[in-house]
Amino acid sequence: MGYFLQNIVNALQWGSFYALVAIGYSMVYGVLMLFNFAHGDVFMVGAYIGFFTASGLMALAAMGSIAIPGWLILILTLIIAMFLNSFVGMAVERIGYRPLRDAPRASAAITGLMIGIILETGNLALLGAQRRAFPPLIPPTVYKVGGVYITNQKIVIIVVALALTLALHQFVQHTKWGMAMRAMAYDFLVVPLMGIPINTIAALTFALGSALAAAAGVLYGVAYPVLGPYMGIIIGWKAFVAAILGGRGSILGAASAGFLLGFIEIFVTMIFPSTMRDFIAYTIILLILTFLPNGFFGEPYSAKLRL
């Protein structure tokens, strides 16, 4: 039993990253009908911004010899990284996607791939190939609860991921900006006629998605403190799978699919030899998509809405 519960905790932590990154994919896809393949690398940039912010804050604290507690640095790092990375997201939209808004979809898709490669190799050129050790902001404390090992880090990661998901869901469902985003997802062509500034909404969508990716990046740094320029690729692919599985544009769908992916990966490893993990996990997802082609919360495409 303890073994089973331990793996649930493991899966919740691992799923948190997929969920946060998947939401960014899903929002851009929902609102703009774009696959932003650079999103995994935006996550990587967020992690690096978090790394430099955290290192800077710690150096500052050491210099002024003020005792800033680690959790405060973590909160500040999260906020600053989310803020700065939203500009990275907006820059990606402005430079990469806006000029191509009327271009064929395939052109926009390869733009994402190219920006992703530019971000990876740009990082490699600027910062070099060596791995960065994310500073231990909150030293892990291990608690044993009924045969299950939980650390304070795990709790923070899972709570922050869930809180950000719910906050974003509220934003999209209950604010005017959110309504504008949903309207754009519903009909791209009519929305400008209603006086909604589509460029602003597009930028906002990228900014929110990238902010969440930065949060994922910082939390990832806390849990897996070895950063490298290519760390975003695999997470990006898998989060993309989660975004589609969740259903187009659905925030809760993307998040739950992200967690589901985490669960499938961890539990496949628990039951089968770990070598089979991705093979079995992604076969399961293929099966789910066969029976639910629109994902969990997606609505079928309507010919009258989309050209």
Binding site: Y3, Q6, N7, N10, Q13, W14, L124, G128, A129, Q130, R131, A133, P136, P140, V142, K144, Y149, T151, Q153, K154, A223, Y224, P225, V226, G228, M231, I234, E265, I266, F267, T269, M270, P273, S274, T275, R277, D278
Partner: protein, 394 residues
């Protein structure tokens, strides 16, 4: 374009090509040494150590005014190619250095994942190659042109199994390794075989794997925790070791973790921190407490680059000096690259008791030296302290 112009253009082109060919072929007074190193990718610190060692070696030769072969002095040039820690890029790098740069001998690649396929290229093109750090037998097996500067995994696996048995008296082992990479996969198998020979079938109670690039090992480590193993053996590279050790501790694992020579990077402690203190691994040399020529090398490297060289740097140094000795023993270079390569290969195979900073080396018929392994303990200050030496039994 008129006929005249066309002919003129053709002539110019032919002359240009001829001139180029003359430049590259006529420079018989230059010896090119190829370095195939992982400067980027998952183990960049290994590439850095390789490059720094090679540059130090070259500086020595330049200081002496070149390399004396027979009665002539040759200028030495390094051709350093990045293999991005990838197998296919290592193959490309070797092919380029052999066919375009006309290198006389190749040093590298370092890890078996790249050295096994790259060795095939060197062997096919009949170019001598030494991998300083690749411990997988396949690198040199049936390849007369390929050598290595270190011991092999069929030796290292039992060394670790015996060490743990004698030191701790354990009988139940857990193994966690990357199944998509030649070195960890090979070594995990040799270790398992050796351990089961000592303690019987089923004594490896958990044999868990992951795939290159994974960062979360919680499911595997939870299974290892449950298996009742007394220690964990993980033959991984330094960036993965940091993640594995930290995650294991967070899942309540407080038993020993034992590693192999891939742990010994100067970067390990930077990434792993105090989590790795007190753990053991097998390696090629221990920097803390070295004497003689080894100490001289360490001090020079440390003064120049600001950190204690890891085993890769030391083995690369030895491999370069083996190449140098082989070229000198060759006696005379003809300037014909194929002939010279053959001459260097034969000279290399005949080197006896080469006195390297990581031990004495004589190659056997498959191009492997017989060398001792060192067990290192990571001290509470993060130093790699000599713990024990294990030599092959003759």
């Amino acid at each position: 374009m008129s006929r005249k112009h066309f002919i003129l253009l053709t002539v110019v082109l032919v002359l240009a090509i001829a001139a180029l060919a003359a430049c590259s072929g006529g420079g018989a007074k230059v010896i090119k040494v190829g370095i195939n190193a992982p400067l980027t990718g998952s183990i960049p610190k290994v590439g850095e150590g390789t490059k720094y060692s090679a540059q130090m070696w070259l500086a020595d030769i330049n200081k002496a005014g070149g390399l004396q072969v027979g009665n002539k002095k040759y200028k030495v040039e390094l051709v350093i190619e990045d293999n991005e820690s990838k197998a296919d890029s290592a193959v490309k790098a070797n092919t380029k250095m052999i066919t375009q740069d006309n290198v006389l001998v190749i040093i590298g690649p370092q890890s078996s994942k790249q050295a096994v396929p790259a060795g095939e290229v060197a062997n096919n093109y009949k170019t001598p190659m030494i991998s300083p750090w690749s411990t997988n037998p396949k690198t040199t097996l049936n390849r007369p042109w390929v050598f290595r500067g270190c011991f092999l995994d069929p030796f290292q696996g039992p060394v670790i199994a015996n060490f743990v048995t004698n030191q701790f008296g354990f009988t139940k082992a857990a193994v966690l390794y990357d199944i998509a990479s030649d070195y960890p996969k090979g070594l995990a198998e040799y270790f398992k075989k050796a351990w089961e020979k000592l303690h019987g079938a089923g004594s490896v109670v958990a044999y868990e794997s992951f795939t290159h690039g994974d960062t979360d090992f919680s499911a595997q480590l939870t299974a290892i925790n449950k298996s009742g193993a007394q220690f964990l053996f993980t033959p991984q590279y330094y960036s993965e070791v940091a993640l594995i050790v930290k995650q294991a501790h967070q899942l309540g694992w407080n038993k020993p973790i034992v590693g192999s020579d891939s742990w010994g990077s100067a970067e390990l402690i930077k990434l792993c921190g105090s989590d790795c203190y007190g753990d053991y691994f097998s390696t090629h040399y221990a920097a803390a407490g070295a004497k003689g020529a080894t100490k001289a090398f360490i001090d020079r490297y440390n003064a120049k680059y600001g950190y204690v060289p890891d085993d890769v740097a030391a083995l690369t140094w030895d491999s370069l000096n083996i190449a140098k000795t082989a070229i000198q023993n060759c006696g005379k270079l003809t300037g014909k690259i194929a002939t010279d390569r053959k001459c260097v290969r034969d000279a290399m195979a005949n080197i006896k008791n080469f006195d390297g900073i990581t031990g004495k080396m004589t190659f056997n018929e498959s191009g492997d030296p017989s060398k001792c392994a060192v067990i290192v303990k990571i001290s509470d200050k993060g130093e790699f302290k000599f713990f024990k030496q294990v030599c092959p039994t003759k």
